[in-house]
């Protein structure tokens, strides 16, 4: 992959918690319009990797280069990283439960986030249309005025995905999007992610192999904090080391 196509590059990242190396010399890259699945057993460092990219955890060593100008994310705050175009969906659906679906989406819309411009914000026609489109996409058109806390688990997941899309990020980090969903809901989720990856980079952490297979994309296997294998799903599933790690336990 050449520099021009690479959106995010992790260069020999390490991080340790009280001596335990959660991430060990991890190197990784993703293109600017690519869907990528991250798999690996528990404790492989998947979530920690996302924490490092989004600024929640600081790397002990190594560099995270982002975008065409190779900005170092290691020095930026969470909100600055998010503003730079990296959106994250958490494992547990986290939406603002006391606010309506509509308000949740308005908060996520890609606009200047500084307090005073938010204070001056007036909703225009374009934004209203955008929210309708997003709601349509995540299947929440009929629920815009409902309080988010009243939604079902799957609907919350979608709302969060909808909020992610509303941010118009260049890189989407999605942690177990299909957890707790019915098979139909899963299919719908797959569609949304595949469509999103046409114009931006999407990283999906998932346990469910069937779901990964349906994503039909390049797969990175993490183990003990570093990359064990990378390639198509069939390729990695035949890798001896991968089999050992998954089945040997």
């Amino acid at each position: 992959m050449t520099r021009a196509e690479t959106l995010l590059e992790l260069d020999r990242i390490s991080v340790a918690f009280d001596g335990f190396k959660a991430i060990n010399e991890l190197s990784f890259a993703i293109g600017s319009a690519e869907l990528r699945a991250i798999i690996g057993p528990n404790g492989a460092g998947k979530t920690t990797m996302m924490d490092i990219i989004t600024g929640k955890t600081r790397a002990d060593s190594g560099q995270i280069k982002y975008g065409a100008h190779a900005v170092d994310l290691g020095q930026m705050s969470e909100s600055a990283i998010a503003q730079a175009g990296i959106g994250r969906k958490f494992q547990r659906p986290t939406v603002f439960e006391n606010q309506t679906v509509f308000e949740n989406l308005v908060l996520a819309l890609a606009h200047d986030r500084s307090p005073f411009s938010v204070l001056k914000y007036r909703m225009g026609r374009a934004d209203r249309v955008r929210i309708d489109v997003l709601a349509e996409e995540v299947g929440l058109s009929d629920h815009l005025t409902r309080i988010a806390g009243e939604l079902s688990h799957g609907q919350k997941q979608w709302l969060e995905i909808g909020m992610l899309l509303a941010q118009e990020p260049r890189l989407l980090l999605v942690d177990e999007p299909a957890a707790g969903m019915t098979p139909e809901e899963r299919e719908h989720t797959t569609d949304i992610l595949v469509r999103a990856a046409e114009t931006r980079a999407v990283m999906v952490v998932e346990h469910d192999m069937e779901f990964v297979r349906r994503l039909n994309c390049r797969v990175t296997v993490l183990h003990e904090g570093s990359v064990l294998a990378e390639g198509s799903i069939d390729h990695v599933m035949q890798d001896r080391q991968v089999i050992e790690v998954y089945l040997g336990r």
């Binding site: 705050s77 909100s79 998010a82 603002f96 606010q99 986030r113 005073f116 914000y121 909020m163």
Partner: protein
């Protein structure tokens, strides 16, 4: 747009209506402008209560909406009082001093007047020099600016330090309490430049208004307090109903999520905290001229906690809840502690309410926290919903 704003927030009209009725009614019954049914001291109590409501409103913005439980808001309230008190005391003393120097063999020079003011104000703490911080005390405009600036600056510095280091929850509450304790201890010193534990006094006497009776002045302040409360209520409703308010409530519910949406949570907290501090300072600046005296004891941690109690009883997270709580509890409080409530004779023991009111309030507050966490405002919500249903 404004019409939809009012339509979406019908509480504004109700609130202003009630406030106007109370204020007008009190005016018509007052000694100053009305039939004299209400004593001047009652009008003052009413005016002071409105100021406390304003402070409670400001606290509700940071606590009910933004999730920052400040146990130190009276620091700003007191500072506001001190800032306006400096002008009131200085200007008033200047009048008195000029009058008494008028009979001097030589017409007084500015220096002589200044020295006499210094002795008059600071003699009580063994000084006569006017400290640097009183440099603007002769100007009402500058001192009014300081009412906004000094508490705002304190809130900004404290908030910047605290929010930047991601101190939240009870930790933050305790730090705010420490802040107000530090400030009150500092002001207790005689060389703090603000007369130590004597505080600033005689604030009820407005400079240049010698021939205007207190009965009239008290009505003026009642109106000033009511108008401020109404204005802040409208501004706050507007702030909290739009996208900004949505972001603020999002901080309360899940500030990390908001961070990953790209919002700099610290900046928002800081804006709300400073805004709230400035409102509280305005409330203090209106309160203390009615109370007549401001001293460091006013800023003791307990005072700020009472403010929190009012908001909690009224119901946080709703502006009218804070106002109802402050009005209700502080009026009932002054009723009980004023000794007007008849003692309760149990036969073997006579309950004197002056002594037992705080016990009642304390346990009552525990009950409210346990069984009505939404406070009196929650009751209003329930009634409204029942009517709708």
């Amino acid at each position: 747009m404004e019409r939809t704003f009012l339509v979406r927030n019908p509480s504004i009209l109700i609130f202003i209506g009630v406030l106007a009725v109370v204020t007008l009614g009190a005016t018509l019954l007052s000694e100053g402008l009305g039939v004299g049914l209400l004593s001047t001291s009652f009008i003052k109590t009413l005016g002071k209560t409105l100021c406390l409501c304003l402070a409670a409103l400001a606290l509700d913005l940071v606590w009910g909406y933004c999730g920052i439980l400040s146990l130190g808001h009276f620091a700003f309230f007191g500072l506001g009082g001190y800032m306006i008190g400096m002008w009131l005391m200085y200007a008033r003393t200047e009048e008195i001093v000029s009058a008494s120097l008028a009979n001097a063999p030589l017409p007084a020079t500015p220096l002589e007047i200044r020295e006499a003011i210094g002795t008059q104000i600071f003699g009580v703490v063994g000084g006569s020099d006017i400290p640097m911080m009183w440099s603007f005390a002769d100007s009402l405009v500058l001192q009014l600016l300081l009412v906004l600036l000094i508490p705002g600056l304190l809130a900004f510095v404290f908030g910047w330090l605290a929010f930047r280091s991601r101190v939240t929850g009870v930790y933050l509450s305790i730090l705010t309490q420490a802040m107000t304790l530090a400030l009150s201890l500092y002001l207790f010193q005689n060389d703090s430049g603000l007369r130590g534990n004597n505080g600033l006094s005689g604030l009820q006497n407005l400079p240049g208004a010698d021939d205007i009776p207190q009965a009239l002045i008290s009505v003026w302040f009642l109106w000033a307090s009511a108008v401020s409360l109404a204005m802040v209520y409208i501004i706050s409703t507007w702030l909290m109903s739009g996208k900004f308010g949505s972001a603020i409530r999002a901080i309360r519910d899940d500030e990390n999520r908001l961070r990953y949406l790209g919002y700099s949570v610290e900046g928002y907290k800081l804006v709300v905290f400073v805004f709230s501090a400035v409102i509280t300072a305005i409330a203090g600046a209106l309160y203390y001229p009615q109370a007549g005296i401001v001293n460091p004891a006013e800023m003791a941690p307990i005072a700020s906690i009472y403010l929190v109690v009012w908001v909690a009883i009224g119901g946080r997270g709703r502006l009218y809840g804070a106002v109802i709580g402050a009005a209700f509890v502080s009026l009932v409080s002054s009723w009980f502690t004023g000794g007007q409530v008849p003692d309760l004779n149990l036969g073997f023991y006579t309950v004197k309410w002056v002594d037992w009111w705080l016990v009642l309030l304390g346990f009552g507050f525990v009950l409210v926290t346990l069984y009505a966490p939404k406070g009196l405002g929650g009751l209003v919500d329930m009634l409204v919903r029942r009517k709708e249903a």
